[in-house]
Amino acid sequence: MKKLLTYMKGYKKQCFLAPLFKMLEALFELFIPLVVASIIDVGIANGDTSYIAWCCVIMVALGAIGLTCTLFAQYFSAYAAVGFVSGIKHGLFKHVSSLSYSEIDTLGTSTLITRMTSDINQVQTGVNLTLRLFMRSPVIVFGAMIMAFIVDVNASLIFVVTIPLLAAVVFGIILSTIPLYKRVQSKLDDTLHTSRENLTGARVIRAFGLEEKEKAKFHRQTEDLNKGQKLVGRISAIMNPATFAIVNISIAILIWRGAIQVNYGNLTQGQVIALYNYMSQILIELIKLANLIVTMTKAVACANRIESVFEVKPSQESGTLKSGGNEGEPTVEFKDVFLRYAGSPEYTLESISFTAMQGERIGIIGGTGSGKSSLINLIGRFYDCEKGQVLIEGNDAREYDLEYLRESIGIVPQRAVLFRGTVRDNLKWGNKNASDAEILEAIATAQATDVLESKSEGLDFVIEEGGKNLSGGQRQRYTIARALVKKPKILILDDSSSALDYATDAKLRHAIGAMEHKPTTFIVSQRTASLQGCDRIIVLDDGKMVGIGTHEELLALCPVYQEIYNSQFKEDVQ
């Protein structure tokens, strides 16, 4: 909470003025019953028409001043709440962008998105309401009591009983229904889940003829939900009637005690009406206050969750080196590298050593979960190894400025992700200053020319969110082109031809091999056919390197490679 409050700094004035103006409005409101009392006691009693008229003018004036005060208060609180929150959002976005892969894994992107959207909106609502109501409601509730005391303490003692009693009922009901509402919500989520499941799994459910069973399940869930809703409804329905009864009984007692004081001559008839009005005022404000406190606790919980994201520090520090190493050094060298992910008891990679010279083509193969992607993630220093060393052009990867290092690497990730914007915008991710000619060249190499030509807008074709308006294979080829636009020293293809058919895949490999600037290329694949032309192939099994060499060498010596190969070319070997 504390750290977030620093974002409030620029809004100190507003945070002070908003509640102040609100309080003024409340105070003016508290004077109204007194004015009414004097209309009755002085104006009517003396038959003084102009006095009555003046009193009414005062009432209108009090209302107008109150309105003016609120306008200021509402503006200040809206301004402060929105400004505060947009400051946090900027800070949070920047902070999250600075995190390393390891922290992103631990936090999870969906959590981060929730923090930045719904959590932060809750905070905004909370701050806004707090600034607006936190002064008003207590001032009216306790102000009404104090004003009543000023009118007559003896008659007003009932306030001391009524306020805590009302508070107990209101808060008791609200607090006791919170967990019940949560249960209702989770039951609603169950029905949502079942509905979703029956859509995503429509084919399987129908294939196994499970329709009736699913119906029964859903009906059970709605019945459950119905029961939960009725229960919570029954409890929260107590609030209005109970408070109504309490207030009216209190009024009866108040008037009774007022009557006694009037009889003694300590109080006038008009003052009794004033007391009655004060009693009526507190209920609405008390309910508002209770709701405000619920909103505030929610907002504080959200704020704390947001703060916990701020507390996560990036585990990697950027180095300072902004130039490559010596000519003769290998582009990439792994020296006995061990990798372990945060929170995992076991190594994901163990004792990996190899070198890749400039322009070489390195293949990486292995089953699912064998550590292929982990290995290539070390090259761009997306993770740091626990033991050993990753050297890029002779220097430890940790010595490089991270941005410099990553600029020199072109990655095609497994999942083909594109962003909203034109094809051109997307490909310029690789190189901000790329010309159209360079972009087209990259597209040609990535075998994506036909994709480009299939849309009449060409490079100006607008890609929708998540690349929805392109097929998987089309997206994949654009992501390849995006990496190629960089003309990177190191090119990494992480199983990036999975959505391509064999023919296109082969053409792609050929085109990459023919590229002018000869990048050092890493190709991750499950298919031996895709790797046969590589200078060296690294065979991974369960995080360990079980073989390295050319296709022929491995075929002769590496049993795991043989197995993989045979599984794909069974008949040929026979």
């Binding site: 008229a53 947009s86 900027h90 607006r132 859509l199 084919r203 294939a207 990553r406 995006r482 046969q532």
Partner: protein, 587 residues
């Protein structure tokens, strides 16, 4: 639009009909409680009239009047509570009934509907739209009736007490309505701007943070932040305006209430003094003042209820649209229940298309004998799964016919046809539940031993064993935790358990690494023995042994024959096959 609303109203009433008695009771209670609620200030006024001054208080009357206030208040409280419970019961039961109907419909919708509508949209109709409708209904019940009763009741009571003051209240109160509607019209457009700005920002967050790894891989953090800040600035501007204007409603209506209050006090005081003929008492004035305080409230409530109700009806309309959706053609009454299918499948001049303007399959004829293996190959997106949709009767053919064991599949019950096939799809789908339940999907009465046996055959046993609770581990499709390959192994276990007479394998091993796949192949081979099977794969090595290969391209079957025949033909299949062995060194 209006027509749709009207029909929605009719539909809602149809659902409420079951609860007519409760509804009438609720309305009755509303009238009674409102009447008594309005009566209380009058009693209090009468009491105040007995408290005139020093030594001039009639305690006996005051006492009995105040006692009456207490008793009435408690009575109202009880009635109000009963009314709320009744209202809750009506709304929640209607919600449940509507949801159940919607779900029943869901299970009968043709696959074409499900395939062509975003899941999120259908789900939101069933869940949030129904909720919104319920909320609107509940609010309608609780506030609409009581609101109207309050307005009418107050009018009657006021006229009874003093027509002149009533005129003041009736003339001034609409001001607050005018102001409120003026503000809310303004805020509507501001809110719209705000929600557009927010949607834009959410999209940016979803993209940049959801794909943060890609952003970082391209060192694109600064540019993303720039984009974000732009949207942030825009949202900030829109939000301040929207929040400020919307927060004006309460203070301005409060101010207008103060005007009404002052007006009542002024005219009331004059009436009390007898300036307008018949005088009223001070107590009656206090009663008027409390009416004046509350009179605007039901108007404001009703106006918000009206928007709420409109929204509820619109939501209801969407739900009812789903419930009214055309169902799949029901099974014929004399439809045959297929048992122990032999597996002789004949496609006779089949034509099919998803949309009328784009023909997919034309005049396809194919005869598959018992135990034969049919492979379907072709590049991505060529329509391989279409054939499966037809075989499983997820879609009906447009022309021609498909028959199993000599009977047109349209004359067979869907359930028996589908359970004769064992289907494993590329798109693995697991249902929320334990591993065991998922494997036993097609055979719920299977013993543990049978389940483990099936898992072993699918090579899933070893990884299931290592799950936290073994076969009782709860998996949820959404939660993940299992790799795509492991999910596929579970799906294969399903058919290893149910052992249906025919098989459909759509890229069934696409996510399993080739070494494990090889191990499963043997199990598949023995499973396919004697069973008619349809296999879609792009690993050509798994296809070579098929009896018939259907080569598809752009939705059509372009070639048909076995591996050797097709290679000799040097056509499309030949080209596909060769690209697998292409060696990068050659280029």
């Amino acid at each position: 639009m209006k027509k749709m609303q009207l029909s929605s109203v009719k539909r809602v009433f149809k659902y409420i009909k079951k609860y007519t008695f409760l509804l009438i009771l609720s309305i009755l209670l509303a009238v009674v409680t409102v009447g008594f609620t309005l009566y209380i200030p009058i009693v209090i006024g009468d009491a105040i009239d007995q408290i005139v001054g020093k030594g001039n208080v009639d305690f006996q009357i005051v006492g009995s009047l105040l006692l009456r206030v207490g008793i009435i208040a408690v009575g109202i409280a009880i009635l109000q509570w009963v009314m709320s419970i009744i209202n809750n019961r009506i709304t929640y039961n209607v919600t449940r009934d509507v949801r159940n109907d919607a779900f029943n419909k869901l299970e009968k919708l043709p696959l074409s509907y499900i395939d062509s509508h975003p899941y999120g949209e259908i789900v939101s109709r069933m869940i949030s739209d129904v909720d919104q409708m319920a909320e609107g209904l509940l609010l309608g019940f609780t506030q609409f009736f009581t609101g109207i009763a309050t307005i009418i009741g107050t009018l009657i009571f006021m006229l009874f007490l003093s027509p002149i003051i009533t005129v003041v209240v009736v003339v001034l109160t609409p001001l607050s309505l005018v102001v409120a509607s003026f503000i809310s019209k303004r805020t509507y457009s501001l809110f719209k701007k705000q929600s557009e700005a927010r949607a834009e920002q959410t999209a940016i967050i979803g993209e940049s943070i959801g794909n943060l790894k890609v952003v970082k891989a391209f060192s694109h953090e600064d540019e993303s932040l720039e984009d974000f800040d732009k949207s942030n600035e825009e949202l900030k501007r829109a939000s301040v305006k929207a929040i400020f204007f919307s927060s004006l409603v309460n203070p301005t209506t409060r101010f207008i209430n103060a005007l009404v209050y002052a007006g009542v006090a002024l005219v009331g005081a004059l009436v009390v003094m007898g300036s307008f003929g018949t005088a009223i008492t001070v107590g009656a004035l206090s009663c008027f003042l409390s009416y004046a305080n509350q009179y605007a409230k039901p108007f404001n409530e009703i106006s918000s209820v009206v928007t709420e109700l409109q929204n509820a009806l619109a939501c209801g309309g969407r739900v009812f649209e789903l419930i009214d959706e055309k169902e799949q053609v029901p099974d014929k009454e004399d439809a045959l229940a297929l048992s122990d299918a032999q597996g002789e499948v004949v496609l006779d001049n089949v034509s099919f298309s998803y949309t009328p303007d784009k023909e997919l399959i034309r005049d396809l004829s194919l005869r598959v004998n018992r135990g034969q293996r049919v492979a379907i190959v072709g590049p991505t997106g060529c329509g391989k799964t279409t054939l499966i949709n037809l075989l499983m009767r997820f879609y009906d053919v447009n022309n021609g016919s498909i028959s199993v064991d000599g009977t047109d599949i349209r004359d067979i019950t869907r359930h028996s046809l589908r359970s004769s096939y064992g289907m494993v799809l590329q798109d693995t789908w697991l249902m929320g539940g334990t591993v065991k339940e998922n494997i036993a999907l097609g055979k719920p009465d299977a013993t543990d031993e049978e389940i483990i046996e099936a898992a072993k055959a699918a090579h899933a046993h070893s990884f299931i064993k290592r799950l936290p609770k073994g076969y009782d581990t709860v998996i949820s499709d959404e939660l993940g935790g299992l790799s795509q390959g492991q999910k596929q192994l579970l799906c294969i276990s399903r058919i290893m358990l149910s052992l249906p007479p025919m098989l459909i394998l759509d890229e069934a091993t696409s996510s399993i690494d080739t070494r494990t796949e090889l191990k499963i192949q043997n199990a598949f081979a023995s499973l396919m023995l004697g069973r008619t099977s349809f296999v879609v794969a792009h690993r050509l090595s798994t296809i070579k042994e098929a009896d018939v290969i259907l080569v598809m391209n752009k939705g059509n079957i372009v070639e048909q024959g076995n591996h050797r025949e097709l290679i000799e033909r040097k056509g499309f299949y030949y080209e596909l096959y060769n690209s697998q062995f292409e060696n990068c060194e050659e280029h």
